[in-house]
Subunit: 252 residues, 2 copies
């Protein structure tokens, strides 16, 4: 049975996260499986995603896979699925994956983008896709704090492990802050992430940008491995999973 | 009684246009008047807008005015009104206007931006703010057509006059098409516009970009003054009123 790899884009506002919920909430996985089942006339399609984005988190480049024994030509798969998807979810591309490919276990990196709207009034057009922060933020202080969070570390202070995992050690290869018009854009890349970890990192950077937390206090929070020490986490609406990488060596 | 000038931003998706509808639909004007009345404990506030955007059209820089005899300091007006507004409508700035200022009659220019998403699959994140056009478009052909639409002309083929106006002559001072990543951005500036005129201009440019209409056919459509000759108009979702200008000489 061929395995199909999908690249997904979604507006997370009206999804209860990526993963199927036993409570029947609208999730990316459940909407996608319903669309696939309509296409295959079979109710067994099971989607596996590279990252379990929370409720409200968006994606430009989520990756997922599923197995199917239909005979749709590879270049028609994306369009065939999209016919059955709502406006806030779309398959950007689809291809037949190599034997044994796994969207989650084979992923070597995840890149997230966080948008902070840093101006005096909120925005009606950017409201769904940004965190509105009306007070002054120092990009220099945020970048100085970011440097303390890069590397191979135990991030237990910044999130909890997914259910079936034990280690809270992750490799953060990139954390960058830059100003773009009225926004601050924060890019975070790591091998993998704990639950709510990007939002916890961003919350800490914002506390640093306000001058509430110094770079050495950021190091102390990291070394404490204690969530109690953490500044408030950033809201989901500003977060977007931009890219999942499959190149290079995979850390466990 | 002081007159207040507002600069408004809104996501037009869930509004039935700017202007009050006797049928009670949710419009920018009605939501704003409700918010003002909550603030003034008076139900007589009346909003006048510079442009009557259609249902689904967005704004970054709509201008409106109203008269009010409250004593809120000028620098607190925007924040006071915003407390009573929903997420898809915001006052970006508010100021006391000069005596006799009129948002609509004093405006000398309106600048609109239209976004076309020109790629093979639709977008979940840009869907509310763009027209998805999956076929190839030539920017060069669109720009060549745009040149035919600039100037002081009778645009009767491109729209109908607002109820209380008679002339369909308008001055288009700028129509520009450029590619930006996966999008085409079209900027249109004129002294004023007929109903649905920007969307009619964009529809014609897209027909030109596909090669369905040549530049000389565009001139013939313009000179026909006949709406029957017009290619299909562009949908509202891609359109945004970016700026209303009050500088320079006003044409009637």
């Amino acid at each position: 049975v061929p395995r199909v790899r999908l690249t997904l884009e979604y507006d997370g506002t009206d999804f209860f996260g990526f993963q199927f919920q036993a409570s029947g909430e609208r999730t990316v996985q459940s909407v996608l499986e319903t669309a696939l089942n309509a296409l295959t006339k079979d109710s067994s399609a099971r989607i596996f995603g590279a990252g379990r984005t929370d409720a409200g988190v968006h994606a430009l480049g989520q990756v997922a896979h599923f197995d199917v024994d239909w005979r749709i030509p590879e270049d028609k798969i994306a369009t065939a699925i999209n016919v059955n998807l709502p406006p806030d979810l779309v398959v950007r591309s689809a291809e037949i994956a190599p034997n044994g490919f796994h969207s989650r276990f084979d992923a070597t990196s995840r890149t997230y983008r966080y948008v902070i709207l840093n101006q005096s009034q909120r925005s009606a057009l950017l409201g769904r896709y940004s965190w509105f922060v009306p007070y002054a933020l120092s990009v220099e202080k945020m970048q100085a704090a970011a440097v303390r969070l890069i590397g191979l570390n135990d991030y237990a202070a910044f999130g909890t492990a997914q259910t079936e995992e034990k280690s809270t050690v992750r490799l953060m290869s990139r954390i960058e802050v830059r100003r773009w018009k009225q926004c601050l854009l924060i890019t975070v890349r790591g091998n993998a992430f704990l639950r709510q970890m990007v939002r916890a990192l961003v919350g800490t950077l914002v506390a640093a940008g306000q001058g509430h937390v110094t770079p050495s206090e950021v190091t102390r929070i990291l070394e404490s491995r204690d969530r109690q020490a953490l500044p408030p986490i950033a809201p989901a609406r500003g977060l977007c999973l931009v890219r999942v990488g499959y190149d290079g060596v995979r850390l466990t």
